[in-house]
Amino acid sequence: MDEFVLIFRHEDGNKVASPEQIQIWMKQTMDWIGGIAAQNKFVSGTGLPFADAKIVGHGGVVTNGPFGEIKETIGGFITVKADSVEEAVEFAKGCPVLQGPGNTVEVRKIAKNDGVH
């Protein structure tokens, strides 16, 4: 069985929704992750708060993340176990982030420590 990381890209929720709406998304996300964990396919994961985000560029130039303007910012990720990329994609389809138009979940296989990757 392989491990895949599901990367969420979306706008800063605090900019587009009320605290109540965010709470609903939070519950949906927890239920979604709980459903994957109930199949014993959850490995790990975390949200990535937009506050205090920095970008370190070439030559050590540090800027604040321009997240307000950018729709597709990484807002979090989880790692799952799956037999195939198709199974991982099925997990991704349930991600509540996808309710927002333009939002995406990127599915990437994790390189095994086998000296090839």
């Binding site: 927890m30 239920d31 992750i33 709980g34 964990a37 109930a38 199949q39 014993n40």
Partner: protein
Amino acid sequence: MQTQELIPHLFRTEYSKIISVLCRRFGFDQMETAEDIASDTFLTAAQAWSYKGIPSNPTAWLYNVAKNKAKNHLQRNTIFESKVSPEIKTDDAYEQDIDLSPKNITDSQLQMMFAICHPAIQPEAQIGLSLRILCGFGIDEVAEAFLASKETINKRLFRAKEKIRNENIKIEMPNLAEMDNRLENVLTTIYLLFSEGYYSVSQNQVLRKDLCFEAMRLCHMLIENESTNKPPVNALLSLMYFHASRFEARTDQNGGLILYDDQDTNLWNQDLVAKGAWYLNQATTGNRLSKYHLEASIAYWHTQKTDTKEKWENILQLYNRLLQIAYSPVAALNRTFALAKANSPEEAIIEAEKLQLTGNQFYYTLLGELYTGIDYEQAKSNFEKALTLIKTPADTAIIQSKIDRLTQMR
């Protein structure tokens, strides 16, 4: 109390103390000797007390006899050794007193607990040894708890003791760096011990309750000791109190299981609920959330009699988190039940069918429950699949009554 009642009672409470102290004094490799001396002490008591009457302080009497027997043993050993190898200086061992002070008893029992729960020993053997050595259960009681023969249990305990000797496991507290890891093992064993009593198929209610209370007593010992009084220990004790609060309500007079929804909530012991809440509160220090914290919180919500959305939403979120750190099929099934209550049965059916726990009777029972009132055929066929996997007559009766109810509803 008469001698024939008093001795079994004292055996349960004092046997394990004497063994722990002697084992620590002699070393684990002489465990059989320690057991012989302890058993011998009770035999002497049974004989002496039946014609001389019960002494005014029976416990002190037992300790005295155990001490003398232990000293005789050490003396014999020392004489033997000094004859075989005269160059070895006479050990002052037999001069030393056998220390049966309350502090040394507690220390010895705690150290014994860590020794028995050493990761090198199989979990089943750990529970068996705990029952025998830490809880003073007789071999026949251990056998009944496991629904195994005495020979099987004797063999299992013998192998475990052999393992202790071969691995050279010491009777001592782990050092600070190792404490959390080793404590984890001790907690697992205590929880298994409790579950053995709580979920066992044995019909002996008294024995089962004893198993639960012994597990709680061992957990109490850890809490009373400063170096082991950690948040997960308090969380585990809290969890056990919450479960124990429903002990009277969960079985009928014939020992048949009564499901949560059908229990008489007046039989839930509010005193034990309050104790559980107290220890859960004690557990909220530190920054590590153990599975016992989550399980205790889930158990707390189950002690609430109301059937509100809030209750089930809380339970659902706790299961969501529990499954992320400690997956188990039981938690997965319970989580899906909470999902049905908090969200909707339709959503829960979709989630349940993803679990594919096709060898598990409770998987089909859950599906049967979820389909009840939604799809008669599906509900019935799932309950029937559960029937084919069931192992006890009590469970068969429960499922059969669900099928009957289903037919009436139609």
